[in-house]
Amino acid sequence: MPVNVAPAGIEYVRFLPEIILIVTGTLLMVLDVMLRDRAPQAYGHISIVALLGAMAASVIANSSPGPAFSNLMVVDGFATFFRVLVTGVGVLTVLSSYRFLQREGAEAGEFHALLLFSVAGQCVMVSANELIMIFIGLEISSISSYVLAGYLRDDKRANEAALKYFLLGSFATAFFLYGIAVVYGMTGYTSLTAIRAALSAGPSTPPPVFIGVAAALMFVGLGFKVSGAPFQIWAPDVYQGAPTPVTGFMATGAKAAAFAIFLRIFMTAFEPISGEWWPLVWASALMSMTIGNFAALTQSNIKRLLAYSSIAHAGYVLVALAARSQVGTAAAMFYLAAYALMNLGAFAVVAHLSGKGERFLSVDDFAGLAERQPLTAALLSIFLLSLIGVPLTGGFFGKFYIFKAALDSHLVWLTVLGLLNSAVAAYYYLRILVVMYFREPAEAAPQLEPLSAGLRAALVIPAVGTLLLGIFPAWVLDFAGKSSVFVR
């Protein structure tokens, strides 16, 4: 392989979003000394500027698509879509964390620096075109989020969450790395396009058993990252223990980025052997949906409930992967965008209501919310209806496109079972609506603080986005459709 020693200027432009994020993150750690007591809100402001800058840089980079750094990275529509998505998730996370950190007395530069590093890692993941690069991105992102999960270090549950997440996450990463090693050993390449070429090269293809083993190992690692069954065990505990804005971030941004590499690896490098791996994905999709939805039925803690719901939603996206078509990829992209919006909104509401020390996390604590704070209740209803999949919300079109793609690929049973699953899911989302609207507030209900400006933005932006995706889905879907062709 020819090695281009001196990268051209345009390659730096293609890498600009990551540069912005890493530099700002480092800067924040330095500024920490100066800002800590004087202007604690400044961390958030700086992070938002950096994230918006990175988002703009991703869009600019997309105007000159192409590879960078000897084909280690590639800027294409797919990468841009996910870069914009994860930076957007970052912005909303920062917005919902202003008040949260203030309330917990935990405003510090590390939080925002780690968040920026994690987003940077996700940007690397989604634009990497080579296994080692993907691995580096995955590690940057994961290690930052292990720390973020335990950020409230005096909280027992947060510690438990961080430790669990770290241990199991490391195992998963090890599986993934082992898969890379096997692939490299069999084909001699780590570049996705080169592996694909090697696998489809007719008589000289490597032994299928070993390639299958490699794909299975990577599937384990990625299945863990997206919290797909049967690798979902960690999710409820970690989601419950982590600080709520971080949970929202892990459930949307980290998951979207993990799905991005999932799609890219399996739809490019392993696409030639898709006949072998799709039954695995099929089974995993069905298990995730079923386990997630049925376990969520009995939850009384809102964060655990949303954790199980997030497992179920991973199942829906896996359905799109099981369709293994370009339409399926586009559907997965659309769904991840819609899911990020509605889930971040829901977690922002939880962050708002949970109170100092996250005491009010039971579903019953939402009783009478419609009377106590009509706006918050109305916005949460939009998110919940979207999670159910009621028309005119983004969640509905997401499900519709996914199951349409599945039917295109003749996955009739998976479609029927998946849609029935979504009817089961309606029950536990409706339970929250019931409590909010049909119950009177408890007498001992705590006085709710008014929505702060940051939280208001963190609620209204996703709500508007959810409705826009539900009424004019074509805006996003067209771009996803065009970007679902991978560089091969």
Binding site: I388, D408, T415, V416, L419, A426, F438
Partner: protein
């Protein structure tokens, strides 16, 4: 932008205006809700006047691209079937506003907003000509009804609301699967294009026709509700506030029967004909079972709810008789049931407003305390049991005639339901309105107030009009049902059982 779009837009605009209205100004909110719902009604009357009875095909067509890929259109239009159902929805909404004027006292703004959103969803369901759009409206109408039952209902409202939502939602996801499947084969969601493709043989579902038919059928049968899928209905009706019961009984149940006529029959004629005997049996069981259960109810609302199961059985029987007469009767019966059962729920609601009880045992001698209320109730009761010159008679007669043509035994069993309906309705009337006047009744049950008159009078007028001069309505309906029956002649792959053969001749004879 034609008149139909305006009829659809008015409730939606009203919904948004009400959301923005200040919470405290109750009078303004009620006034706005009444204004918007009346405006929609007046506009829909325009539809009836402009409707060309003799023109073929759909009228008031608007076809705009909503989403390019997949090819989804905002495509709405009216034919003889949907015209009257749209007007039924727009007629009942202002009546519901009037009924709820005083009886709804908490969260008034949300109540009327949801009522208008419901009207938007219902009119949309009847007007949609695009399968996807139909599904969207179908689901959208579910959400406001869920809240209407859950927030403003009676004691067991939460259970009833959940049951209502989950039943309908679970059944309709199967329909969504079928809709996507059809799109993947036909390449369009356009209803008339799909029908044209089926009748020209360009589109054929082969062995899957039966599964697709069932997917649609179950979604509609839950909504109708057809025995044994009816168990959500008594709960929902009893627990809903009066306006919710009226909209549910009068319009939402018609979504199910409308769907049967509009989609199940013409799109899957072979499967529909093959299943017709089974479905007819279920319908007859529903007719008799509903009537028997209604007879023993101690609760007035529950009694009316079970009578709906019985009446809707007639509609389904008429549809699956596959005769022109039976189908016309079924469609007419949908409208009749909307008017007369709507009026029954409304009057029961009036009684509840006064005495705060739904138990029949708590009443007695109302006729002495409130003569006008009793008279109106009597007219409605007689209409409901099918007294000649009132509306239900026409529909039931046509349905029974159609059923007799298809299979004489069906008509025999179904007519038992007519007799039973007289029993339970008259017995109800006797226990509530005659006999000794309780003190509680004398003190609390006063006669109709002007606002209440305004709400009920249009329904009484319609009962008489539809009973005396059905020619105002039926010719338009007949054109459409004839077209649908023609469509069911094509592409019959399943074995046709004896009876429907007769219907072919009947259809041609007209």
């Amino acid at each position: 932008m034609n008149l139909l779009d305006i009829v659809l837009a008015i409730p939606l605009i009203g919904f948004m205006v009400l959301l923005l209205a200040p919470r405290a100004s109750h009078a303004a909110i009620r006034g706005l809700a009444l204004g918007f719902s009346l405006a929609a009604f007046v506009a829909s009357l325009g539809l009836a006047f402009q409707f060309q009875t003799n023109a073929p095909g759909e009228q008031f067509v608007t076809d705009l691209v909503w989403i390019v890929s997949p090819n989804i259109h905002y495509h709405v239009a009216l034919d003889g079937l949907s015209l009257w159902l749209v007007i039924l929805s727009t007629l009942l909404t202002p009546i519901c506003v009037l009924v709820s004027w005083q009886s709804i006292q908490k969260r008034i703004k949300e109540f009327f907003a949801f009522l208008l959103l419901l009207e938007f969803g219902l009119t949309g369901v009847f007007a949609a000509q695009d399968l996807f759009l139909f599904y969207v409206f179908w689901e959208v109408s579910l959400v406001p009804m869920y809240f209407l039952i859950g927030i403003w209902g009676h004691e067991r409202r939460i259970y009833a609301a959940l049951k209502f939502f989950l039943y309908t939602f679970a059944a309709s996801v199967l329909m969504l699967t079928a809709i996507i499947y059809i799109y993947n084969h036909a390449g369009t969601f356009n209803y008339s294009e799909i029908l044209a493709m089926i009748s020209s043989g360009r589109l054929s579902f082969g062995r899957n026709e039966m599964l697709l038919f069932l997917a649609f059928f179950v979604a509609f049968a839950v909504k109708v509700p057809l025995f044994p899928l009816h168990t959500w209905l008594p709960d929902a009706h009893v627990e809903a506030p009066t306006a919710g019961s009226i909209m549910l009984a009068s319009v939402m149940l018609k979504m199910g029967t409308y769907g049967l006529v509009r989609f199940c029959l013409p799109m899957f004629p072979g499967a529909a004909r093959a299943c017709a005997p089974w479905i007819a049996v279920l319908a007859i069981i529903g007719i008799i079972y509903g009537a028997l259960v209604a007879m023993v109810q101690p609760n007035m609302k529950k009694l009316v709810a079970y009578s709906s199961v019985s009446h809707l059985g007639f509609v389904v029987l008429g549809i699956f008789s596959f005769t022109q007469i039976g189908m016309d009767g079924a469609v007419y019966q949908m409208l009749n049931h909307g008017i007369s059962t709507g009026a029954l729920f409304l009057l029961v609601g009036y009684l509840y407003d006064r005495r705060h009880s739904l138990a029949i045992a708590d009443y007695g001698g109302v006729a002495a305390a409130a003569p006008w209320l009793s008279t109106i109730f009597l007219v409605t009761t007689l209409a409901s049991i099918g007294l000649p010159t009132l509306n239900n008679y026409v529909g039931e007669f046509l349905v029974l005639q159609g059923a007799a043509l298809a299979n004489f035994r069906w008509a025999v069993f179904a007519s038992i339901g007519v007799i039973l309906s007289a029993c339970y309705m008259l017995w109800l009337y006797q226990r509530v309105f005659y006999g000794e006047t309780h003190d509680q009744v004398r003190d609390h049950v006063f006669d109709l107030k002007p606002r209440e008159w305004a709400a009920v009078a249009p329904l009484i007028v319609m009962m008489v009009w539809m009973g005396m001069y059905s020619q105002s309505f039926l010719p338009v309906v007949g054109k459409t049902t004839a077209r649908i029956l023609d469509q069911t002649q094509v592409n019959v792959q399943f074995q046709v059982h004896g009876a429907p053969g007769v219907s072919t001749e009947v259809a041609r004879a007209r």
